[in-house]
Protein backbone atom coordinates (compact mmCIF):
# COMPACT_ATOMS: atom_id res chain seq x y z
CA UNK A 1 0.00 0.00 0.00
CA UNK A 2 1.34 3.43 -0.88
CA UNK A 3 2.17 5.88 1.91
CA UNK A 4 -0.50 8.26 0.59
CA UNK A 5 -3.17 5.57 0.82
CA UNK A 6 -1.91 4.49 4.27
CA UNK A 7 -2.17 8.02 5.65
CA UNK A 8 -5.58 8.50 4.05
CA UNK A 9 -6.88 5.23 5.51
CA UNK A 10 -5.46 6.00 8.95
CA UNK A 11 -7.03 9.49 9.03
CA UNK A 12 -10.40 8.22 7.80
CA UNK A 13 -10.22 5.40 10.32
CA UNK A 14 -10.00 7.93 13.13
CA UNK A 15 -6.30 7.60 13.89
CA UNK A 16 -6.36 11.38 14.09
CA UNK A 17 -7.34 10.92 17.73
CA UNK A 18 -4.81 12.63 19.94
CA UNK A 19 -1.95 10.40 21.01
CA UNK A 20 -2.40 7.88 18.26
CA UNK A 21 0.20 7.75 15.53
CA UNK A 22 -0.55 7.46 11.84
CA UNK A 23 2.40 5.20 11.22
CA UNK A 24 4.04 3.75 14.26
CA UNK A 25 7.13 5.66 15.36
CA UNK A 26 9.33 2.59 15.10
CA UNK A 27 8.34 2.10 11.46
CA UNK A 28 9.23 5.73 10.75
CA UNK A 29 12.66 5.24 12.31
CA UNK A 30 13.23 2.09 10.26
CA UNK A 31 12.17 3.98 7.14
CA UNK A 32 14.61 6.80 7.96
CA UNK A 33 17.36 4.22 8.46
CA UNK A 34 16.52 2.68 5.09
CA UNK A 35 16.86 6.05 3.43
CA UNK A 36 20.23 6.62 5.09
CA UNK A 37 21.36 3.13 3.95
CA UNK A 38 20.20 3.83 0.42
CA UNK A 39 22.09 7.14 0.44
CA UNK A 40 25.17 5.33 1.74
CA UNK A 41 24.94 2.76 -1.06
CA UNK A 42 24.50 5.55 -3.53
CA UNK A 43 27.70 7.23 -2.38
CA UNK A 44 29.54 3.91 -2.69
CA UNK A 45 28.09 3.26 -6.16
CA UNK A 46 29.25 6.72 -7.26
CA UNK A 47 32.76 6.00 -5.97
CA UNK A 48 32.78 2.63 -7.78
CA UNK A 49 31.60 4.35 -10.92
CA UNK A 50 34.49 6.82 -10.75
CA UNK A 51 36.95 3.90 -10.47
CA UNK A 52 35.41 1.98 -13.38
CA UNK A 53 35.36 5.11 -15.55
CA UNK A 54 39.06 5.67 -14.84
CA UNK A 55 39.80 2.05 -15.87
CA UNK A 56 37.64 2.54 -18.96
CA UNK A 57 39.63 5.63 -19.99
CA UNK A 58 42.95 3.89 -19.45
CA UNK A 59 41.84 0.81 -21.47
CA UNK A 60 40.64 3.15 -24.18
CA UNK A 61 44.05 4.83 -24.37
CA UNK A 62 45.76 1.42 -24.49
CA UNK A 63 43.50 0.26 -27.36
CA UNK A 64 44.30 3.44 -29.29
CA UNK A 65 47.99 3.00 -28.72
CA UNK A 66 47.92 -0.65 -29.91
CA UNK A 67 45.94 0.29 -33.02
CA UNK A 68 48.46 3.01 -33.85
CA UNK A 69 51.36 0.60 -33.32
CA UNK A 70 49.77 -2.08 -35.50
CA UNK A 71 49.25 0.42 -38.33
CA UNK A 72 52.83 1.58 -37.90
CA UNK A 73 54.21 -1.98 -38.09
CA UNK A 74 52.04 -2.81 -41.06
CA UNK A 75 53.81 0.05 -42.81
CA UNK A 76 57.20 -1.39 -41.82
CA UNK A 77 56.25 -4.88 -43.13
CA UNK A 78 55.21 -3.36 -46.47
CA UNK A 79 58.48 -1.51 -46.72
CA UNK A 80 60.47 -4.68 -45.93
CA UNK A 81 58.52 -6.60 -48.59
CA UNK A 82 59.15 -3.76 -51.07
CA UNK A 83 62.84 -4.21 -50.40
CA UNK A 84 62.48 -7.99 -50.89
CA UNK A 85 63.56 -8.70 -47.31
CA UNK A 86 61.16 -11.56 -46.52
CA UNK A 87 62.88 -12.47 -43.24
CA UNK A 88 62.51 -8.96 -41.87
CA UNK A 89 58.92 -8.80 -43.16
CA UNK A 90 58.16 -12.06 -41.33
CA UNK A 91 59.70 -10.74 -38.09
CA UNK A 92 57.54 -7.60 -38.33
CA UNK A 93 54.47 -9.73 -39.12
CA UNK A 94 55.12 -11.74 -35.97
CA UNK A 95 55.29 -8.54 -33.96
CA UNK A 96 51.98 -7.42 -35.54
CA UNK A 97 50.39 -10.73 -34.62
CA UNK A 98 51.50 -10.26 -30.98
CA UNK A 99 50.15 -6.71 -30.98
CA UNK A 100 46.83 -7.91 -32.39
CA UNK A 101 46.36 -10.50 -29.70
CA UNK A 102 47.20 -7.83 -27.08
CA UNK A 103 44.69 -5.50 -28.76
CA UNK A 104 41.98 -8.14 -28.61
CA UNK A 105 42.60 -8.63 -24.88
CA UNK A 106 42.54 -4.87 -24.24
CA UNK A 107 39.42 -4.46 -26.37
CA UNK A 108 37.65 -7.12 -24.32
CA UNK A 109 38.67 -5.35 -21.11
CA UNK A 110 37.45 -2.02 -22.50
CA UNK A 111 34.10 -3.53 -23.50
CA UNK A 112 33.72 -5.02 -20.05
CA UNK A 113 34.59 -1.68 -18.31
CA UNK A 114 32.20 0.21 -20.59
CA UNK A 115 29.44 -2.28 -19.80
CA UNK A 116 30.10 -1.96 -16.07
CA UNK A 117 30.18 1.84 -16.24
CA UNK A 118 26.85 1.92 -18.09
CA UNK A 119 25.27 -0.44 -15.59
CA UNK A 120 26.58 1.57 -12.64
CA UNK A 121 25.38 4.85 -14.16
CA UNK A 122 21.93 3.35 -14.59
CA UNK A 123 22.01 2.04 -11.01
CA UNK A 124 23.05 5.43 -9.61
CA UNK A 125 20.25 7.16 -11.51
CA UNK A 126 17.71 4.61 -10.32
CA UNK A 127 18.93 4.83 -6.71
CA UNK A 128 18.79 8.62 -6.78
CA UNK A 129 15.20 8.53 -7.97
CA UNK A 130 14.38 5.93 -5.33
CA UNK A 131 15.92 7.98 -2.51
CA UNK A 132 14.03 11.11 -3.65
CA UNK A 133 10.81 9.10 -3.68
CA UNK A 134 11.48 7.67 -0.18
CA UNK A 135 12.15 11.18 1.07
CA UNK A 136 8.87 12.46 -0.38
CA UNK A 137 6.98 9.65 1.32
CA UNK A 138 8.78 10.19 4.62
CA UNK A 139 7.98 13.89 4.42
CA UNK A 140 4.27 13.02 4.10
CA UNK A 141 4.38 10.79 7.17
CA UNK A 142 6.36 13.28 9.23
CA UNK A 143 4.15 16.22 8.22
CA UNK A 144 1.02 14.28 9.16
CA UNK A 145 2.55 13.42 12.53
CA UNK A 146 3.75 16.95 13.08
CA UNK A 147 0.30 18.39 12.35
CA UNK A 148 -1.26 15.90 14.77
CA UNK A 149 1.20 16.76 17.49
CA UNK A 150 0.80 20.47 16.81
CA UNK A 151 -2.98 20.07 16.98
CA UNK A 152 -2.76 18.33 20.32
CA UNK A 153 -0.41 21.07 21.63
CA UNK A 154 -2.89 23.74 20.46
CA UNK A 155 -5.84 21.89 21.98
CA UNK A 156 -4.00 21.42 25.30
CA UNK A 157 -3.08 25.08 25.33
CA UNK A 158 -6.68 26.14 24.81
CA UNK A 159 -8.07 23.86 27.49
CA UNK A 160 -5.40 24.91 30.01
CA UNK A 161 -6.03 28.61 29.40
CA UNK A 162 -9.80 28.05 29.74
CA UNK A 163 -10.36 29.79 26.44
CA UNK A 164 -11.76 28.13 23.40
CA UNK A 165 -11.84 28.67 19.70
CA UNK A 166 -14.84 30.82 18.97
CA UNK A 167 -17.57 29.98 16.57
CA UNK A 168 -16.54 31.24 13.11
CA UNK A 169 -19.45 33.63 12.62
CA UNK A 170 -18.97 35.19 16.07
CA UNK A 171 -15.26 35.64 15.38
CA UNK A 172 -16.01 37.33 12.09
CA UNK A 173 -18.59 39.64 13.69
CA UNK A 174 -16.15 40.67 16.39
CA UNK A 175 -13.38 41.32 13.87
CA UNK A 176 -15.76 43.31 11.68
CA UNK A 177 -16.95 45.32 14.71
CA UNK A 178 -13.34 46.14 15.56
CA UNK A 179 -12.70 47.12 11.97
CA UNK A 180 -15.85 49.29 12.01
CA UNK A 181 -14.75 50.96 15.24
CA UNK A 182 -11.35 51.62 13.73
CA UNK A 183 -12.93 53.05 10.56
CA UNK A 184 -15.27 55.24 12.64
CA UNK A 185 -12.34 56.56 14.62
CA UNK A 186 -10.51 57.33 11.42
CA UNK A 187 -13.56 59.16 10.08
CA UNK A 188 -14.02 61.10 13.30
CA UNK A 189 -10.40 62.10 13.25
CA UNK A 190 -10.74 63.25 9.65
CA UNK A 191 -13.90 65.20 10.48
CA UNK A 192 -12.24 66.87 13.42
CA UNK A 193 -9.29 67.80 11.29
CA UNK A 194 -11.50 69.28 8.56
CA UNK A 195 -13.49 71.26 11.16
CA UNK A 196 -10.27 72.59 12.56
CA UNK A 197 -9.19 73.71 9.13
CA UNK A 198 -12.68 75.28 8.54
CA UNK A 199 -12.33 77.30 11.69
CA UNK A 200 -8.89 78.49 10.89
CA UNK A 201 -10.05 79.49 7.39
CA UNK A 202 -12.93 81.52 8.88
CA UNK A 203 -10.51 83.22 11.21
CA UNK A 204 -8.25 84.14 8.31
CA UNK A 205 -11.20 85.52 6.31
CA UNK A 206 -12.37 87.57 9.27
CA UNK A 207 -8.92 88.99 9.77
CA UNK A 208 -8.94 90.03 6.13
CA UNK A 209 -12.39 91.67 6.60
CA UNK A 210 -14.12 89.16 4.32
CA UNK A 211 -17.32 87.25 5.14
CA UNK A 212 -19.46 87.68 8.26
CA UNK A 213 -18.26 90.55 10.37
CA UNK A 214 -19.33 91.25 13.92
CA UNK A 215 -22.40 93.38 14.18
CA UNK A 216 -21.11 96.74 15.06
CA UNK A 217 -23.10 99.70 16.44
CA UNK A 218 -22.97 101.27 13.00
CA UNK A 219 -24.52 98.30 11.28
CA UNK A 220 -27.30 98.13 13.89
CA UNK A 221 -28.03 101.81 13.37
CA UNK A 222 -28.12 101.34 9.60
CA UNK A 223 -30.61 98.54 10.00
CA UNK A 224 -32.87 100.58 12.25
CA UNK A 225 -32.79 103.49 9.82
CA UNK A 226 -33.84 101.22 7.00
CA UNK A 227 -36.73 99.90 9.11
CA UNK A 228 -37.98 103.41 9.92
CA UNK A 229 -38.05 104.41 6.25
CA UNK A 230 -40.22 101.50 5.25
Amino acid sequence: MSIFKKIMTAIRGGASEIGENIVDANATRIFEQEIRDAEHHLTKAKRDLTGVMAQQMSANREVDRLKREIAEHEGYAMQAMDKGDETLALAVAEKISNLESELSTQQQALDSFSGNADRLKELVKKSERQVAEYKRQLSMVKTTESVQKATSAITDNFSSSNSKLLNAKDSLERIKAKQQKFDDQMKAAELLESEDSDNSLKAQLKAAGIGDSDSSANSVLERLKAKKKS
Binding site: S16, K142, A150, T151, A153, N157, K169, I175
Partner: protein, 137 residues
Protein backbone atom coordinates in the same frame (compact mmCIF):
# COMPACT_ATOMS: atom_id res chain seq x y z
CA UNK B 1 14.29 28.43 10.09
CA UNK B 2 12.51 27.68 13.37
CA UNK B 3 9.54 29.15 15.21
CA UNK B 4 11.73 31.15 17.59
CA UNK B 5 13.47 32.98 14.76
CA UNK B 6 10.06 33.71 13.22
CA UNK B 7 8.73 34.95 16.58
CA UNK B 8 11.75 37.19 17.18
CA UNK B 9 11.46 38.69 13.73
CA UNK B 10 7.71 39.34 13.87
CA UNK B 11 7.81 40.75 17.41
CA UNK B 12 10.66 43.06 16.43
CA UNK B 13 8.66 44.40 13.49
CA UNK B 14 6.21 46.19 15.80
CA UNK B 15 4.11 48.64 13.81
CA UNK B 16 6.62 48.74 10.97
CA UNK B 17 5.56 45.64 9.08
CA UNK B 18 5.40 45.86 5.31
CA UNK B 19 1.82 44.54 5.45
CA UNK B 20 0.67 47.15 7.99
CA UNK B 21 -0.35 44.35 10.38
CA UNK B 22 0.89 44.04 13.94
CA UNK B 23 1.83 40.49 14.90
CA UNK B 24 2.01 39.04 18.39
CA UNK B 25 3.74 35.70 18.80
CA UNK B 26 3.25 33.21 21.58
CA UNK B 27 5.13 29.88 21.50
CA UNK B 28 3.09 26.86 22.61
CA UNK B 29 5.17 24.00 23.91
CA UNK B 30 4.37 20.40 23.19
CA UNK B 31 5.84 17.44 21.36
CA UNK B 32 6.10 19.76 18.37
CA UNK B 33 6.81 23.46 18.87
CA UNK B 34 3.96 25.62 17.66
CA UNK B 35 3.88 29.38 17.36
CA UNK B 36 0.54 31.06 17.95
CA UNK B 37 0.45 34.30 16.00
CA UNK B 38 -2.30 36.83 16.60
CA UNK B 39 -2.76 39.87 14.42
CA UNK B 40 -3.95 43.07 16.08
CA UNK B 41 -7.73 43.61 15.66
CA UNK B 42 -8.04 39.99 14.47
CA UNK B 43 -7.33 38.18 17.74
CA UNK B 44 -10.25 35.79 17.16
CA UNK B 45 -8.49 34.13 14.23
CA UNK B 46 -4.99 33.16 15.35
CA UNK B 47 -2.51 31.52 12.97
CA UNK B 48 -0.59 28.48 14.17
CA UNK B 49 2.87 27.98 12.69
CA UNK B 50 4.93 24.83 12.93
CA UNK B 51 8.19 23.95 11.23
CA UNK B 52 9.01 20.46 9.93
CA UNK B 53 12.15 19.11 8.23
CA UNK B 54 11.29 20.59 4.87
CA UNK B 55 8.43 23.03 5.30
CA UNK B 56 6.83 25.78 7.34
CA UNK B 57 3.13 25.20 7.93
CA UNK B 58 0.78 28.07 8.75
CA UNK B 59 -2.72 27.01 9.80
CA UNK B 60 -5.86 28.93 10.72
CA UNK B 61 -8.92 27.16 12.10
CA UNK B 62 -12.10 28.18 10.32
CA UNK B 63 -15.02 26.29 11.84
CA UNK B 64 -15.98 22.93 13.28
CA UNK B 65 -18.13 20.29 11.69
CA UNK B 66 -20.81 21.20 14.28
CA UNK B 67 -21.09 24.72 12.82
CA UNK B 68 -21.96 23.44 9.35
CA UNK B 69 -25.61 23.31 8.26
CA UNK B 70 -25.89 19.54 7.62
CA UNK B 71 -27.94 19.93 4.45
CA UNK B 72 -25.32 22.21 2.86
CA UNK B 73 -22.28 20.16 3.89
CA UNK B 74 -21.49 18.63 0.51
CA UNK B 75 -22.02 21.85 -1.44
CA UNK B 76 -19.77 23.63 1.07
CA UNK B 77 -17.05 21.03 0.55
CA UNK B 78 -17.43 21.28 -3.21
CA UNK B 79 -17.11 25.08 -3.02
CA UNK B 80 -13.94 24.65 -0.96
CA UNK B 81 -12.44 22.29 -3.54
CA UNK B 82 -13.34 24.67 -6.33
CA UNK B 83 -11.87 27.67 -4.48
CA UNK B 84 -8.60 25.90 -3.61
CA UNK B 85 -6.84 27.04 -6.77
CA UNK B 86 -8.22 30.61 -7.10
CA UNK B 87 -7.49 31.41 -3.43
CA UNK B 88 -4.01 32.97 -3.34
CA UNK B 89 -1.32 31.05 -1.42
CA UNK B 90 -3.73 29.27 0.94
CA UNK B 91 -5.57 25.96 0.63
CA UNK B 92 -8.43 24.33 2.49
CA UNK B 93 -7.97 21.28 4.64
CA UNK B 94 -9.51 19.49 7.58
CA UNK B 95 -7.88 18.49 10.85
CA UNK B 96 -10.02 16.20 12.97
CA UNK B 97 -13.49 17.75 12.90
CA UNK B 98 -12.21 21.27 12.14
CA UNK B 99 -12.02 22.88 8.72
CA UNK B 100 -8.85 24.93 8.27
CA UNK B 101 -7.02 26.99 5.71
CA UNK B 102 -3.29 26.69 5.55
CA UNK B 103 -0.24 27.71 3.62
CA UNK B 104 2.97 25.69 3.31
CA UNK B 105 6.28 27.42 2.69
CA UNK B 106 9.71 26.05 1.88
CA UNK B 107 12.00 25.83 4.90
CA UNK B 108 14.35 28.22 3.09
CA UNK B 109 11.75 31.03 2.82
CA UNK B 110 12.76 34.55 3.80
CA UNK B 111 11.18 36.51 6.68
CA UNK B 112 9.46 38.71 4.09
CA UNK B 113 7.93 35.61 2.46
CA UNK B 114 6.67 34.42 5.84
CA UNK B 115 5.19 37.80 6.76
CA UNK B 116 3.48 37.99 3.36
CA UNK B 117 2.14 34.45 3.80
CA UNK B 118 0.66 35.27 7.22
CA UNK B 119 -1.00 38.46 5.98
CA UNK B 120 -2.54 36.72 2.97
CA UNK B 121 -3.66 33.77 5.11
CA UNK B 122 -5.39 36.10 7.58
CA UNK B 123 -7.13 38.04 4.80
CA UNK B 124 -8.19 34.79 3.13
CA UNK B 125 -9.58 33.41 6.41
CA UNK B 126 -11.76 36.46 7.04
CA UNK B 127 -13.00 36.51 3.48
CA UNK B 128 -13.72 32.78 3.47
CA UNK B 129 -15.80 32.94 6.67
CA UNK B 130 -17.68 35.95 5.33
CA UNK B 131 -18.39 34.42 1.93
CA UNK B 132 -19.16 30.91 3.17
CA UNK B 133 -21.32 31.93 6.13
CA UNK B 134 -24.37 30.79 4.16
CA UNK B 135 -23.23 27.22 4.87
CA UNK B 136 -22.83 27.86 8.59
CA UNK B 137 -25.30 27.72 11.44
Amino acid sequence: MNIHKIADHLNALGDNSATGMTFDCQPISGEVDVLQITIAEREELPIFVSVTDDQILCITYLWGEDEVKPETRSSMQESMLEMNIPMPLSSFSKIGDKYVIFGALSISSSFDDIEHELAVLSNNAIEVIDDMSEFLI
